[in-house]
């Protein structure tokens, strides 16, 4: 009697394991994820300037490198601290300070502007632009489509007459928004606060 009980139990477990194994096997084929979803998630966090400052040819190759573990998360100067924090959050790793080797975070959003009367129409910048934001033809003046420019600086070096400037984008009324209240809360007001200056002295 005891033996038959054990046999029933074993056979029941075997049958169950076969059924679940079949289901899992089917699911792994049926619901197979194409590509690495992590790469896409990281790519979505990158600023898409396609500037190559991370030493990878574009944001998506860098995202791939991060996903493969071959690149650090701190090589993106245009994204800056917020991008590093977001990627660290996604990957569950410790955020690192921006790697200064690849550049520093810019204060404001920059956009390339061609000094049009100096442009000789060599098309070199057009070939360099990773997002096709420069318009022009050979021996014709070129111009930057400001709304599409990512401010990646890649057009600066190829220009033989140095007629491209990077200028900060003006904050118009449409873009303006309130700053964070900068008041220091009363309980941890320190000596540098204007109200406490007298006391400190």
């Amino acid at each position: 009697m005891e033996m038959s009980g054990i046999i029933i139990a074993i056979s029941a477990l075997v049958v169950l394991s076969l059924i679940f194994g079949a289901i899992l096997g089917f699911a792994s084929i049926r619901f197979k994820v194409e590509g690495n979803p992590l790469v896409e998630q990281i790519d979505a966090l990158l600023p898409q300037t396609q500037c190559g400052q991370c030493s990878y040819p574009g944001c998506s190759p860098y995202a791939e490198a991060i996903a493969n573990g071959t690149a650090g998360i701190n090589k993106c100067p245009p994204g800056g601290e917020s991008t590093i924090l977001a990627i660290a959050d996604l990957l569950g790793v410790e955020p690192e300070p921006l790697d200064a080797e690849h550049g520093t975070e810019k204060e404001s959003v920059m956009v390339a502007v061609i000094r049009e009367d100096e442009c000789i129409g060599c098309t070199k910048c057009i070939q360099a632009c990773p997002v096709d934001a420069i318009l022009g033809a050979a021996k014709q003046m070129h111009t930057v489509i400001e709304s599409e420019c990512t401010g990646c600086d890649l057009c600066l070096d190829p220009c033989p007459v140095d007629c491209i400037d990077m200028v900060p984008v003006n904050t118009g009324l449409q873009e303006w928004h309130w700053d964070k209240p900068d008041q220091i809360i009363a309980t941890d007001a320190n000596q540098t606060h204007p109200l406490n200056e007298g006391k400190a002295a």
Binding site: P47, Q48, T49, Q50, C59, S147, K180, Q183, I185, A186
Partner: protein, 659 residues
């Protein structure tokens, strides 16, 4: 009147000090024409209008000076007659304190109207025409937001059950709508009737807070005078912010506007009292929106009252005519104390949505107290009319956790300031929300831009790859074509009779002709050389070699031609055979030439021997040391002569034998 009307309530709300009595004691005064008018091109929500005038232009009162750009935009008219003296960036009524594009008008004090025609009886006029009139008049929501009225009215046309006139005016200090109703109730009601004619609602509700008894009385009197029974005046309890669109709708109908939705989705549309008045002026009198009622109040102002102000009037002008002590004014607020903003420049103009100017003293509106730590008392949550969680939003905004702030519906915050008002820790909560909202908006804009950049980058890569592939394909096609041509060329000769006989025949004929010409030419050359008595036999030999080759080629060509022609045309056989015989005949013909050539060679050799002998003799006579060399040269020439003679004899023998 509203005894049977069921009122509802909205969550939260506060009861701040009213401060409305100061400015309601005297009637509306005319602010007159200031020395200068500053007209911002963007006084409304939506696209900035486009200036139609140039500096130096003279304009009349009511003339269109900037036209709307797109549907969600508004026209701008000259508030009085005068001259355009400047167009450019000037300080405008905006929280940012930034400058914006403006038209500056210097009035000529004549106040000459442009011709304007109103519609006295609009009951037979189509709603579209009326909407067009409202649009042309540049009317925007005058309660504070400045949303173009024609957009709001036309988006809702046909599906509106309830039209609400918002006369709650819940924010402290502001009394512009109150005074307008007291003095112009009939015009306001006319404006509502026009809106009702456009929207055809089932019910029209006139919502007034119970702190305006005079206005309620005036409206009721006007309604009974007009015999208008369609409009119901509903008195609602005073509570801030009952004048908020969503809150007023909730009070009057019990319905809540869904998050991210519009009242029109519920079949409700809400318009402001001032807007109704402007609509009346636009439709009945044909006058565009060029002035408004603005409250000037605050403790720094000795005579707080409402003014009939031209749009574009600098605040400075109002302060001057009301004898406000600017030195005593610690803060100048545009709008109410809850939702308004401080203006730094007294040149800032009154715009279409400016309902109030508060010239406050230090005592009246002291500097905000020091922010203290949040004690999680929950008073903000109780005060919030939008039923949000202000505390949570505060933490999220403070730590820039925008995603969570969004998840907690920060977008539904109406920025009424009730939470900040009740906060015992003096936390500027609304400031945090405004910051977070701005950051979220920025993040969305950045995301859109980066998505676009990504698409452009990927499209560019795809294009480059495609171009590379096309180039590669072209190169491969060229290489293929070249290889094919080569193969065809090779296959041409053996396959000539099967493939294209005529073309091949032509080719063969050409080849034969060319070979024939070559033979003739070579012969000519040889004869020329011989005629010139060239003694250099090697050249002639070379020529003869070439002649042999040319003849062989000609023979080949003739054979090929004959074989090519044979299967094609039997009649050509004769031609072919004759051709062949001609080709074969050539060497026979040249035997004589050959003999002749050999004879010439012998002769030439004889001459050279003679010359060599002569030189040898000369050397012998003079007894030169080089005599041995001459001896050798003579011997060689003599040997050559013998060779040539032998060759001639042999050839003659051979040819005779052949014959």
């Amino acid at each position: 009147m509203n005894t049977q009307f069921q009122l509802h309530d909205f969550a939260g709300g506060i009861h701040p000090a009213q401060n409305k009595v100061q400015s309601t004691s005297s009637p509306i005064a005319d602010a007159g024409i200031p020395e200068i008018l500053i007209l911002p091109l963007s006084q409304h929500i939506g696209a900035q209008s486009i200036s139609l005038v140039n500096v130096g232009d003279t304009v009349l009162k009511g003339q269109l000076i900037a036209s709307s750009q797109g549907f969600v935009s508004a026209n701008l008219h000259a508030p009085t007659s005068g001259k355009i003296t400047a167009i450019g960036d000037m300080s405008i009524a905006h929280q940012s304190g930034l400058t914006g594009p403006c038209i500056q008008l210097t009035p000529d004090q004549q106040d000459t109207w442009v011709e304007c025609a109103g519609i006295q009886d609009y009951s037979n006029v189509s709603p579209d025409t009326l909407l067009h009139t409202i649009q042309q008049a540049g009317i925007v929501g005058m309660g504070g937001a400045g949303f173009p009225t024609h957009v709001k009215a036309s988006a809702a046309t046909g599906s509106i059950e309830t039209l609400i006139l918002n006369a709650a005016e819940c924010e402290p200090y502001i009394t512009a709508d109150d005074m307008l109703m007291q003095e112009h109730a009939i015009e306001v009601i006319s404006g509502i009737s026009i809106l009702a004619h456009i929207l055809k609602p089932k019910t029209i509700l006139f919502g007034i807070e119970d702190n305006k008894p005079k206005a309620i009385e005036a409206v009721n009197k006007a309604l009974s005078d007009l015999g208008n029974v369609a409009i119901k005046v509903i008195t609602i309890p005073t509570k801030y912010p009952s004048g908020g669109e969503k809150q007023l709708i909730q009070i009057l109908t019990g319905k809540e506007v869904p998050s991210g939705g519009y009242p029109s989705e519920l079949g409700i549309v809400c318009h402001n009292t001032g807007t109704a008045f402007a609509i009346h002026n636009a439709v009945i009198h044909g006058q565009p929106l060029i002035s408004r009622i603005t409250t000037l109040t605050g403790n720094a102002c000795p005579t707080p009252k409402n003014y009939h102000v031209l749009i574009g009037t600098p605040v400075e002008h109002l302060l001057k005519i009301s004898n406000t002590n600017i030195a005593n004014t610690s803060r100048l607020v545009m709008g109410g104390p809850m939702m308004g903003f401080t203006i730094d420049q007294i040149q800032t103009p009154i715009v279409k949505a400016s309902n109030c100017i508060i010239a406050a003293t230090q005592h009246e509106l002291p500097d905000p107290a020091m922010e203290q730590a949040c004690i999680r008392c929950g008073m903000c949550t109780e005060a919030c009319p939008a039923q949000l969680l202000p505390q949570q939003l505060y933490w999220f905004a403070k730590s820039s956790n925008l995603e969570q702030a969004e998840n907690h519906n920060i977008a539904d915050c109406i920025e009424c300031g009730a939470c900040s008002y009740v906060c015992p820790s003096n936390i500027p909560l609304v400031q945090y929300y405004r910051f977070a909202k701005g950051e979220i908006k920025q993040a969305h804009a950045d995301k859109l831009k980066s998505d676009r950049a990504k698409i452009r980058f990927e499209t560019r890569l795809a294009r480059q790859e495609r171009e590379q592939a096309e180039k590669e394909a072209k190169r491969a096609a060229r290489a293929d074509a070249a290889a094919k041509k080569q193969a065809e060329k090779k296959a041409m000769v053996p396959a000539s009779d099967q493939t294209t006989p005529t073309a091949d025949l032509e080719l063969l004929q050409k080849k034969f002709d060319a070979a024939k010409t070559a033979v003739t030419k070579t012969k000519e050359k040889i004869s020329v050389l011989q005629a010139a008595e060239q003694i250099d036999s090697s050249k002639i030999e070379l020529m003869e070699g070439a002649l042999e080759k040319a003849k062989a080629k000609m023979k080949d060509a003739a054979t090929a031609l004959a074989s090519g022609k044979k299967p094609q045309d039997a009649a050509n056989v004769k031609v072919a055979s004759s051709l062949l015989s001609a080709a074969v005949d050539i060497p026979n013909k040249s035997v004589a030439d050959e003999i002749e050539a050999l004879k010439q060679k012998v002769l030439a050799a004889q001459t050279r021997v003679d010359k060599a002998a002569e030189r040898y003799n000369m050397a012998k006579e003079q007894e030169l040391d080089t005599i041995v060399a001459f001896q050798t040269g003579l011997d060689k020439q003599q040997a050559k002569l013998v060779d040539a003679k032998q060759a001639l004899e042999e050839f003659t023998q051979q040819s005779e034998e052949a014959k």
